[in-house]
Structures are given as structure tokens and as C-alpha cells.
Subunit: 194 residues, 2 copies
């Protein structure tokens, strides 16, 4: 059903968001379709009409945030600007998205291994795509002479700093943009004094 | 049963390690006691004799690695040496532990929310303890004048770099010690050229 892939309607959005909360709270396997139906106030038939299958629901929850980040990163990386300002923008967008959709990111990181076959491949490809935007910014910085030359392992470390926030970032005293700025500053200047 | 808390015997160790693999692969909720019994070749009665309950099993899997890291960090931080060398040691020990016990760390990060009450509190306290060792090293570096003054948010970012490796670190071309060194170098010197 390609319709499901592209169609965004309010009921479908609501199912995705309510399910993400329940999956994040109780785990994907422990959350039954009956419970999901009850939470969104739909019968089983209507529920499956919107969703297709529980696996598809998991895939869609995970996929949406990655797609959103890719859309942002693609614009950001393709625009004018130096590497440092692009890095700041990528970091801020990611932290804001994790703060706003923490349930979705929790589900993504926690339940990814449930996905198989084509869904798994597609999600991995979308993640690789996202990493490649960060890589492009690092490469831009290196060719501008403002960043050191880095490799994929360092990129993993950098992304870890931000992604790990799905475990702790909450509506605390600091806005996600500030958290992003603090991390980028630490990353740019390093821990060493002077 | 305090005996269970302190006693380490081969069968108990085997149950913990086999269960960690199964929980990591299929999720805590989706893994039944019957499946665990079959995997370790024990009847239900004997299994419960060693373990107490499935929750206790989860707690113990998570707790052991944190305790091991705390024991190491306590020695490391209390020993002679400058902040940079201690930071390198902490980082190497953590990456080696994550590489060796990736299933256990996956279970820890993924299933933590299942734990309630005293177990949850005890595990959180043990994690805070671990963070405090890193904080002490940062403070030592600041008072030696070799590190910038940092705060808890920056510490979160640094730990994220390393902890996030539970999602991707595997027996790849790079030894976990090398990964740790690369991350520490990036962290110390920063991304900025010169």
C-alpha cells in the first residue's frame, strides 16, 4: 500500500505519536495491538487500515524523524555558509528534534533490531545518508582550513555526543539549542586549556 | 536473598551471560523464563534458585558492568598520574568493557526503564558514581591547568561519545583501545585546525 507510505493524515499522525509513546514507555514487544487500538480509540479493522502492521508502525515511527533530519541537513549542507556555522545548525536541529520527539528516538534506538529485510535496509540507508551530511561539513571545514581532517571513526564519536541525548535530554533548564551550542563549542575547541 | 547478591558461581555467571545475549537479541519482555531455562539447560526451579526473578536477572546484568567500571575508575582516579593519562585510562577501560560485554550494555541502555523501586535507585546511584569519577578527572585537569573548566553538561556530551558505542562498536578493524585513543585525542585537541 504505497498510499500509506506517503499519506499524512491527522488520524495516522495520531496513531504514530501515541504508539511511539507507548513503545517508548513499555517496549515494542510488550505493547499489543489491542492496547494501541484502545489508546487511539479505534477498532482493530480501522487501526490496520491506517497502519498496515505493527512492524510498519515501528518502521514509520523511526523513519519519520530520520527523514526530517535528512531534509533539514540536505538544505543546510547545500546552502551558503562556512563549515562551523553549518555544524552549529546541524547540531541544533538534531538536539531540538530529539528533545521534541524523544519517544520516537527512543523507539528508533531501542527497537531498531526488530526491523528486518527491506525496512531495515531502508532505515540503515537513511541513517548513512544523515551521517554523510555531517561528513560533508567536516570535509568542507578541512578544505577551508578551519577544521582538522577527520575520519569516520571521529564522526561516530561526534554523532554519539548528540545522539546519546535521547537517553537524558528532557525539558530541563537548558534549551536543546543551548545544549547543542555547548557541545559544538567543546568539540571545536577541545578540552585542553589554551 | 543476600547470598544471590554476592555469590558468583559458574552456573550463575552462565545464566547472566546467556540471558544478556537473549535479552539483547530479542528484548527483555519478549524473552520468557521458559526460553531462558532451555538456553541454559535448567529446569524452572533450579533457574529461580540461582536467579530469584526475571527482574533480578535484568538488574544483575546491568549492575555488574557498572560495578566493574566503578571498581576500575575508583582505582584509576585515586592513583598517581595527571588528568590526561587518567582520562585515557578511563576511556580505554570503558571501550574495552563495551566491546567485550556489548550484549550487557545493550540490555542496560535499552531495558533500564523496566527496573523499578530500589533496583532502579541503586543502578542510578551506581551510574552517578561512575560519572563522578570522570568529573574528578576533569576537575583535576582544570586544577592542574591542563584542561578547561567544564560542567556536567559537557561531561554528559563526553560520556555520550563513548557510551553510544554500545550501538556500533564491534570486533572491527580497530581495537577498542584505539577507538578510545582517537576519541580522547579529538576531545582534547578539538576539531578546530591549529
Amino acid at each position: 500500500m504505497d498510499m500509506r507510505e506517503t499519506q499524512r493524515n491527522p488520524m495516522r499522525d495520531r496513531i504514530l505519536s501515541v504508539s511511539a509513546e507507548l513503545f517508548a514507555r513499555n517496549g515494542y514487544h510488550a505493547t499489543g495491538v489491542a492496547e494501541l487500538c484502545k489508546a487511539v480509540g479505534l477498532g482493530r479493522g480501522a487501526f490496520y487500515h491506517y497502519i498496515g502492521s505493527k512492524d510498519e508502525l515501528l518502521y514509520e515511527i523511526s523513519r519519520r524523524q530520520v527523514d526530517e533530519m535528512n531534509a533539514f541537513a540536505s538544505r543546510c549542507v547545500g546552502a551558503e555558509g562556512d563549515a562551523e556555522s553549518k555544524l552549529r545548525e546541524l547540531a541544533r536541529a538534531l538536539m531540538c528534534n530529539i528533545a521534541q520527539y524523544r519517544a520516537q528516538w527512543t523507539v528508533f534506538f531501542r527497537e531498531f533490531d526488530v526491523l528486518r529485510g527491506q525496512q531495515r535496509e531502508a532505515l540503515l540507508a537513511a541513517r548513512d545518508q544523515y551521517e554523510s551530511y555531517w561528513r560533508q561539513v567536516f570535509e568542507q571545514g578541512a578544505s577551508e582550513g578551519t577544521f582538522r581532517v577527520t575520519d569516520d571513526l571521529q564522526l561516530k564519536g561526534v554523532l554519539g555526543m548528540f545522539n546519546y541525548a535521547y537517553l537524558w535530554l528532557s525539558a530541563g533548564p537548558q534549551a536543546p539549542e543551548e545544549v547543542a551550542d555547548v557541545f559544538v563549542d567543546l568539540l571545536l575547541s577541545g578540552l585542553r586549556a589554551n
